[in-house]
Amino acid sequence: MTNPQYIGGIRGFFARLGGIDRRWIFLAMGLSIAIPILLKLRFPEYPGPMAKATFAAVESVPEGSTVLLSFDYDPASAAELQPMANALVHHCASRNLKIVFMALWPLGKQQADRTIETVLKPLHPGYSEGTDYVQLGFQAGNEGVIKVMATNLSKQFPNDANGKPLGDIPLLKNAKDLGEFKLVASISAGYPGAKEWVQYGNGAMPDAFEVVSGSTGVQVGQLLPYYPKQMEGLLVAVKGAAEYEMLVEGKYPAANPELLGQGRVRMGPQLVAHLLMIALIVLGNIAMIAGRPRGGAR
């Protein structure tokens, strides 16, 4: 192999680039994430088919019917999933849908509580607990919870999270089973989560409700087989959240746009860093080609 030191001109520049000190790459990566965060750069998103399908699924629910939002994640995945939860809650409330919150993950209840406090109450002050929304909280049992809910809602959740019997809650006093809901949305970071909702919820009563899901990037491979047949909508990672935010904000502008912009703000560093990675791969290959001795491959 020719020593890149002895190649001149532009070709030499690229050839030497191949052996660049990796700390320059580190610096570039650091800047590409730090600058968008500092400047709060927001780039336009082009909503993909999955985000559009999710939006359409929520839009198709008749006004005034009840939806179930299951918070199946914990703070570790909140960076990816909380923006989806915020946009979803705002979307449902803007369409006057009654919202029932629950969690299959122990810490999911906290996330649901936070969403109620930071999104639902400030943006939709008219929503009152008991008639417009209910927080059922967390129940242990993984997919078992879903199985019981499919046949008998009040057996799995005799009370809401505050200990109030279901019979005393106007919104749920006549609710029998999962068929009460027109839409089930699982914001899901793994097991138990969206996959279980499809298998045991939708599986038990296929035509009763639609399922949409927000998922982390890591576990999307497991959910793709269910979209779009058993799962009407699927939001993937921060990007899915950002696209969905665009759609929701486009139709239902929020009084406080900050709350609905988290996904897009987080997409800023993602976009720049991804473009950097792509550029690095291209540069690495140019460097390799430039460093080759003339007259063919080794």
Partner: protein, 233 residues
């Protein structure tokens, strides 16, 4: 005999029992029981780990080897955390039993133990984890070079997936109508196709292979063919 035959017998027997228990209705909880045993054993073994950690660092300090000051930092932070945690110093008392000191939770955020976790351990581990963002960049630059078919496929797939994950992907191919015959050229479709079909297939075959590898490895151990874990003195 005590050093070779008995350990082999223990290994074979415990392995065979666990296999059999899986198929016997009344033995379903055995797996759980031995898992509990193992957790206890691992907790007891911490005495070995702690002993080793202390001995290694004390030796560094006493011999004044290069970097002995850091060994002292390790020892001091270890001792502090251990004492504060084991004796629940400053722990928040249990609501229902405020009189019983050890009933309080050892890791509540208001205790020194919790503070150390929140402000020392967790930022350190989270930052160490975050270093990966830098290393994926340098690895992509260095390793993704089109030298042969294999590396072209590796870098090409990574390239497509990376591109499809940004707005740039939608910008480039999002104009192709989803219902048209050319929809498969959309980057998001290509990405979904790769993940759903090729990657799933690859992972499935890897898993089948791994299962057979585990089976053969376990059988070698249970049948006493692989005995490399035994001292031969």
């Amino acid at each position: 005999m005590m050093q070779r035959t008995i350990p082999i017998a223990i290994l074979c027997l415990s392995g065979a029992i666990m296999v059999a228990a899986y198929f016997i209705s009344s033995a379903q909880s055995w797996g759980e029981t031995v898992t509990t045993w193992f957790n206890i054993l691992a907790a007891v073994a911490f005495v070995l780990g702690a002993g080793n950690l202390i001995a290694m660092n004390l030796e560094k300090i006493s011999s004044q080897r290069a970097g002995w000051g850091y060994a002292a930092i390790t020892l001091v932070s270890f001792a502090f955390m251990l004492v504060v945690g084991l004796f629940k110093i400053g722990a928040v008392p249990n609501d229902k039993h405020p009189d019983i000191h050890f009933a309080g939770s050892y890791d509540s955020a208001a205790s020194p133990f919790g503070w150390m976790y929140d402000f020392v351990m967790s930022p350190l581990t989270a930052t160490m984890f975050a270093l990966l963002a830098f290393y994926v960049a340098s690895a992509a630059f260095r390793a993704f070079r089109a030298k042969n078919t294999e590396s072209i496929l590796l870098l090409g797939t990574a390239f497509i997936v990376l591109l499809a994950q940004t707005a740039a992907g939608m910008f480039l191919t999002g104009w192709i109508p989803e219902e048209s015959a050319f929809a498969f050229l959309r980057l998001d479709k290509i990405k979904a196709g790769i993940i759903e079909h090729v990657q799933t297939a690859g992972m499935r075959a890897i898993m089948i292979g791994i299962a057979l590898g585990i089976a053969a490895m376990s059988l070698r151990l249970i049948l006493g063919i692989d005995r490399s874990y035994l001292s031969k003195n």
